[in-house]
Symmetry: C2
């Protein structure tokens, strides 16, 4: 049994707790929190909760620690620090800062002799994998990534900060026409506006100026100004009833040409349709934890990404079984 | 530059010759054939052709040999024999015999210190990879593979063997309704007949009994009896005009559940739409050749499958570039 620790207990940590229970070769050692452990209500009653302050006391009891903090401030500190004592997995997803995070984590984990898998999840993660496989197979081609339909937490938060807004939910939606153009293999040039629509469900305070709120949303730089944005004002009841889920998903589509005169077109498409973004991400983290464990058992150390891991390492099945039944 | 040899020069070998020209880190050393080399017309005039009998004379000139023979009789002999002298890649696709082929190739290549990548292509190959990634992420789920729309060479050949048939083309077509059921996440039980239709375009001899031919096709065991089969009789001109391509493709769809009470459903879908089945397979073989080269440069040896190869090894880009631009 691979003994897993969970560091940080929000939606992602809860998803990891659930995912471990689906994997027969794994068990949860415990959950580590910065809150008072006694105040934490776990998904399963049997799950143990400890204080993050004591985590290094358990370094011999945990095979892999899955770090479930946020990318903005938690992971840049936690992953290098914890990889001094544990094999770790994180979901660091600030794309522009991945090389720097990689460097920091690699230094710490190479020194401690542990394996650290960073930026696991679906993007970065499974989408990244599909981008590099497709580009390696068909180098004369273009790769397109579309996100959605799904809830963007960052964009929902940005709307909530507007004066007069009580709550909000923002969906990122791929433009069907753009998807079809890409699938046809014509390798179109697509602007930001061409690829995604942003649809917002907003609960306004009584008496708030809805025209002003709508204008503030639609003109907000970086978040909305470059998109076609649709704003709906709804009641709090409706928001809670119809928009409480955290679905997401998306598409990686690569089309490329082969043949003497590039006469043949091929389209590779990978897509995800997820009821729960954090639970799916957690499921990826858990199978990356298995890979981290196997790599470290072989004597490997240092920072890894999904690009470095042989696919068989993610599976609970033996290599022989995989060759016989899945190849 | 990685120097590639091509052993066997049918559709697959020609596809490899084209694919090498798209990859800036590779060059074609030469093509090896069992025919008279002077009788072979290559895609590019500059490509050199040698006799297969002399192939071991060039073992120091070739980094990786891509073996482009058939799975029925060529590869079971050629891959073990040639892996005694070369790093090799093949597309062995007789699923039931892969474990035996693996054993034979592993013995030869482990002894010679070479790397052999077997069963590369799209199924086995990219479809296999997607099956194991999806199952590792969502172990509580089901995986479905659909093939087509595309030409099945084996089924076309089976029709051609019927008395009174001059030529034929058989398309395997996934049943749209079955695809939709799988995509909905309901994990249906699907029989062979539920999943695929077989559509046949047949050119009959003048005066042949078309009713008898149609009946022979539809009742042919293993090939057609278990399917809904549609038979069209067409002229030789129409066959040549509208059915001369070798398109193929298909879908790997996995749907699985997460959450405390399995309340959330996720659907992972990978699909291929290929204008030319052999040219796409060749493109996979060529990036596997790059992986074989890199693995052998590191000192690895023995038989490998796509399950064993870190994804970054397929790419011509450096690990740093991939982390920066593709993760």
């Amino acid at each position: 049994m691979i003994r897993i620790g969970i560091a940080g207990y929000g939606n992602l940590g809860k998803g990891v707790e659930c995912a471990i229970s689906q994997n027969p070769d794994m068990e949860l050692f415990g959950i580590f929190t910065r809150r008072n452990p006694e105040s934490v209500k776990t998904v399963f009653e049997s799950s143990k909760v400890y204080s993050m302050d004591d985590i290094t006391d358990f370094k011999d009891d945990i095979d892999v620690l899955i770090i479930c903090g946020g990318s903005a401030t938690d992971l840049p500190v936690q992953t290098p620090a914890l990889s001094k004592h544990f094999n770790v997995v994180d979901s660091f997803d600030t794309h522009a800062k991945i090389p720097e995070h990689f460097e920091n984590v690699d230094k710490a984990s190479a020194q401690s002799g542990k394996v650290a898998v960073i930026s696991a999840g679906w993007d970065p993660g499974m989408f990244s994998l599909n981008r590099i496989y497709a580009e390696a197979i068909l180098p004369k081609g273009e790769t397109y990534t579309f996100w959605g339909k799904g809830v963007s937490q960052g964009h929902s938060d940005a709307i909530r900060r507007i004066d007069g807004v009580l709550d909000a939910r923002q969906y990122t939606i791929p433009v069907e026409d753009a998807l079809e153009k890409v699938r046809s293999g014509e390798n179109p040039n697509l602007s930001t506006r061409d690829k995604h629509i942003r649809e917002c469900f907003v609960v306004a305070e009584d008496g708030a100026d809805k025209n002003r709120i709508e204008k503030e949303i639609k003109t907000m730089p970086n978040y909305f100004a470059d998109y076609n944005t649709i704003v709906h004002f709804i009641s709090m009841e409706e928001l809670q009833k119809n928009h409480s889920g955290i679905p997401h998903g998306g598409f990686v589509i690569h089309s490329g040409k082969t043949g003497k005169d590039m006469e043949n077109t091929h389209v590779i498409e990978y897509s995800l349709k997820l009821d729960s973004n954090p639970e799916f991400t957690s499921s990826v983290l858990v199978c990356c934890a298995r890979a981290a464990y196997k790599l470290n058992q072989e004597g490997q150390k240092g920072c890894k990404t999904v690009f470095d891991i042989p696919p068989a390492y993610f599976s609970s099945k033996s290599r022989e079984e995989l060759i016989k039944n899945n190849l």
